[in-house]
Amino acid sequence: MSDGETGDGDADDAAAVDPEAVRHVADLARIDLDDAEVERFTERFADVLAYFETLEEVPEVEGEADLANVMRPDEVRDSLSQEDALANAPETEDGYFKGPKVS
C-alpha cells in the first residue's frame, strides 16, 4: 500500500509539500483526513522533509549484510483455532471475517 506513484515524484525536487500532495499520500495510505488535518500536516511535513534533506550529505556506504536464512521442517503444527482467530473481528459470518458490503 506504500509503493504507489506520487504522480509528482521528482527526486531532484526540494521537498515541495502542498495540500494536494498530503491528500494524495493519505489516499495511498488509506487514511482519511479532514481539512484541518490536511492543513496541519502540510506545514508539518514541509518541516520534517526539509530536515530529512541533510541525508543528501551522507556518502554511499557499502553495508555488509549479516544475514542468514533460518529454515525449519515444513511440519503441521498447532495454530489458533478458527474461533480464536475470529474473536476480535468486529463482524463475522459462518466462520469468516465479514468485510464492508460493496454497494
Binding site: 500500500m1 509503493d3 471475517f97
Partner: protein, 436 residues
Amino acid sequence: MATDYNGYITTESIAGADDGPLAGTTVAVKDNISTEGVRTTCGSAMLDDYVSPYDATVVERLKAAGATIPGKTNMDEFGMGTTTETSAFGPTENPAAPGHVPGGSSGGSAAVVAAGDADMALGTDTGGSVRCPAAFCGVVGIKPTYGLVSRYGLVAYANSLEQIGPIAPTVEEAAELLEVIAGPDDADATTRDAREASAPDGETDESAYDYAAAADGDVEGLDIGVPTELVEGADPEVESVFWDAIADLEARGASYHEVDLESLRYAVEAYYVIAMSEASSNLARFDGVRYGQSGGYDGNWNETFARSREEGFGEEVKSRVLLGTYALSAGYHDKYYKQAQDARAWIKREFDEALSAADVLASPTMPVTPMPTGESLDDPLKMYLADANTTPVNLANLPAISVPAGETDEGLPVGLQLVGPAFGEKEIIRAGSALA
C-alpha cells in the same frame, strides 16, 4: 491497582508459576506486548477492545519464571513518541519529576517501576523507548542487541530496529530480568543464540546468559570511549551530571578517551525515515475487519478502511504512516530511504571501529531533561531531536543500558548511556553496575 500518574492502561493481574527465579516478583508489561486473554491496546483507540488470543514469548517466559504481571503499561500510541503523551489513554506523569513527562514510548513501564508499583517492567525500544523513560524516571533500562530477545507477540512498529528490554530500579535486577527473557525462539527467526553469537566462530560460551553475575561493579581497567557528537548537543546541566559520572567511574579505575563519530550527526534523520517507512507497511494491517476499530461503514473497501483508520489512529501515528508512505513512494525512495540505509551502514561501521578501541561507549542517554507536560506535541521536530543519542544504537543493532547518573540542580533525573559490542550485554551491565 490504578495509579494517580496514569501508569497502567489495564490493571488485570496475570499469575505466573509457583516457583522460578522471579517468584514473588511483579513485572509490568508494556501494552504492545501480547497477553493471552488480556487486552493489548498499543495505546491506541484502534485496539481499544483488542484481546490477544496468545501470549508473546517474553510473557510465556515471565510466567514460567514465576513472575506476576500486575498490568499493562501506558505508552505512546504504537510506540510513536518520546513523552508518552500520544497515548489514546491520556499521558503518564513522571513520578520522579511531577509536572514533567516520563519519557517514552515506554513511559508507563518506567513510571510504575520508579513509583514502586511494580518491581520491574518490560518496555520496547525502537529508537530509545526503553532508555529514554528509564533516564527520565531515574531507573535502569536495557536495550538488548538486535536478535537477543524474541519479539514474537510484539505488535510491530519498525521491525528492523526494535527489541524488548527490561526496566528495573538497579542494574542487577534489570540483568536478572534480561536473563529470563533472552534466548532464541523458533517463532522469531531474527533471534540468535548468544552462546554462539558472543563467542568466536565455531565456539560456544556457556556462560553467555549469566548477566546478573556480571553486575559486580568492577570497572578497573575499563576503557570508555566518549563520542563527542553525543555530548556537544546536550543541555549544559545534563553535560555536567554526565562528566561527574565519568569522573566517578575514573575514580574506580576506568579511563576514558573522546572519539569523533561523524556519522552520528545523521542518526535522527536516518532513524525517522526508516522507522516511518517500516511503520507505513506494518500498520497497513489495521483495517477494522480482522480486528481493530471498524466504522461499520459499507461501500468501496478502500474508502471504508480509510474512514476506520481516520477514526482509530491518533495524529502522531497518522503523520508517521503518511511520511513513511511518502518516503517509499516512487520518485522519493532513493532520496530518502536509500540515503537513510547508507547512513545506517555508516553508523554501524563507525560504532564497530570505536568499539574496537574501547570496551564501551558512554554518553548522556538524553541530551535534555524531562520536558514539562504538554510542551512537546506542538513541535514534533524538537521531540524527534531529543532522540539524538539513543537512535544510533538501534540503527547499529547494538546493546545499550541507561543508568541513573544523578540529578540536575532542580532535581530532574539524568541518565548515562553505555553502548557495547553486539551480544556484549555483560560489558555494559558490569560498567553500569558501578553507578546503579
